[in-house]
C-alpha cells in the first residue's frame, strides 16, 4: 500500500516537473507573490509546483523570513545598536546650522 502511494506521489511530481513551468520560472512567481496578488491561473500552477518541489517551498519560506528579518532589523538593530554614530564635529555643525536657521525662520515668521 505504502509502495503504491509513493508511486502515485512520484508520478504526480514527474508530471508537474514535466508539464508545468520549471523552478527557474517558479522562483520569479514566488517573488511576485510577495509583492502582488497572483492571478488565479498563476496561483494554481504555483501551488501544484510547490506540492512537488521541496526546494521551491524552502525558497518561498526563506524569502518571507528575509522580509520579516528586515522589518525587525529596522526596528531593533537601528534603535539599539551603538554604531555608527555621528562624529562630534558633525553633531556640532548640524546644531549650529539648526540654531541659525531657526533664528532666521523665527525672524521671518514675525514679519
Amino acid at each position: 500500500m505504502n509502495f503504491v502511494s509513493r508511486k502515485i506521489v512520484r508520478m504526480f511530481n514527474v508530471a508537474v516537473w514535466t508539464y508545468l513551468p520549471p523552478c527557474k520560472e517558479m522562483v520569479q512567481t514566488a517573488s511576485d507573490s510577495l509583492d502582488r496578488k497572483l492571478s488565479f491561473r498563476e496561483r494554481v500552477v504555483f501551488k501544484l509546483h510547490l506540492m512537488a518541489c521541496e526546494p521551491c517551498v524552502r525558497y518561498l519560506e526563506q524569502s518571507k523570513l528575509i522580509r520579516k528579518a528586515i522589518e525587525e532589523m529596522e526596528a531593533e538593530q537601528i534603535a539599539n545598536s551603538e554604531k555608527p554614530t555621528l562624529s562630534e564635529e558633525s553633531r556640532e555643525r548640524i546644531k549650529q546650522l539648526l540654531k541659525s536657521s531657526m533664528g532666521l525662520f523665527a525672524l521671518f515668521s514675525i514679519f
Binding site: Q77, P84, M102
Partner: protein, 222 residues
C-alpha cells in the same frame, strides 16, 4: 548668524503660530521645541537609519542634516500626535527617497540591473530537468530557531552585510519596497521603471540575498 543670539531655546510653538488659528492652543503650549536637542536625542538613530539605506556615511550625514532643517520648516504641520522620533523618521524617509530618485535620474535603471543571466548557473542541470534547481544550489533547510536571540542578532549582521553587497541600484529598489514600504506602482512611478523590470529586480534581489545568507551564515554554523 546675527539673529541667532536673540532667539532663546527651547523655542515654543505658540510664538511661531501666533497667527495660525487652526492649531489648538492647549496642545501647542505643551510642545516645547528645541531642534538642537534633536541632534542629541535622535541624531544617531537617524544617522544609522540613513547609513543602512544609503550605504555611505558622508551622504547619510548630509541627508540627516537636510532632514532636521526641513523639520524646522514644517514644524507647523507637526501635530504632536506622533512621537518626535517617528515624525523625524518619516521626514528622513522622504529625503532618502528623494536622494534615490535623483541618483536614478542621472543613470536610469536598465539592462545591467535586470540581467538575470548570472543566476542561470543555479538552474543548470545536465539531466532532463534542465531549468530546475541544480543540486548544488537548491535552497537547503535553514533549520532556524528564531527564539535564540544571539543567533538572531548574528543573522541581522549577515543580512546587513549581504544587503550591502548587492549591486547598489538593485539594493535601492529592494529597500524602497522592503524598508520604506512603498508598493510596486509607487516605485515604478518614482523611478520611471516598467512594471516588468520592477518584478525582475525584486526577484534578482531576493535570489542574491538568499544565496548570500545561505553561504555566509547557515553553512558556517553547520
Amino acid at each position: 548668524m546675527m539673529h541667532s543670539e536673540a532667539v532663546s531655546f527651547p523655542f515654543t510653538k505658540p510664538d511661531m503660530q501666533a497667527e495660525a488659528t487652526t492649531v489648538s492652543h492647549e496642545t501647542a503650549a505643551r510642545t516645547a521645541v528645541d531642534p538642537a536637542a534633536w541632534v542629541d536625542e535622535h541624531g544617531d538613530y537617524l544617522f544609522r537609519y540613513a547609513v543602512v539605506r544609503l550605504r555611505d556615511e558622508a551622504v547619510a550625514e548630509d541627508v540627516v542634516q537636510e532632514t532636521l532643517l526641513s523639520a524646522i520648516q514644517s514644524l507647523r504641520s507637526y501635530s504632536g500626535k506622533a512621537t518626535e522620533r517617528t515624525w523625524l523618521t518619516s521626514i528622513l524617509k522622504h529625503k532618502i527617497v528623494d536622494h534615490f530618485r535623483k541618483s536614478v535620474r542621472e543613470v536610469p535603471i536598465g539592462e545591467e540591473e535586470t540581467d538575470m543571466s548570472d543566476l542561470d548557473v543555479l538552474f543548470h542541470r545536465e539531466d532532463q530537468w534542465q531549468n530546475h534547481w541544480a543540486n548544488a544550489f537548491a535552497p537547503t533547510d535553514w533549520n532556524m530557531s528564531p527564539e535564540a536571540s544571539l543567533e538572531r542578532s548574528e543573522f541581522y549582521m549577515v543580512l546587513g552585510m549581504c544587503m550591502s553587497k548587492m549591486p547598489e541600484r538593485v539594493a535601492g529598489v529592494f529597500a524602497l519596497r522592503e524598508m520604506d514600504g512603498l508598493d510596486s506602482t509607487e516605485i515604478c512611478e518614482l523611478l520611471s521603471l516598467s512594471a516588468s523590470n520592477f518584478w525582475v529586480i525584486m526577484h534578482r534581489a531576493r535570489m542574491l540575498l538568499r544565496r548570500c545568507i545561505e553561504l555566509n551564515w547557515f553553512k558556517k554554523i553547520q
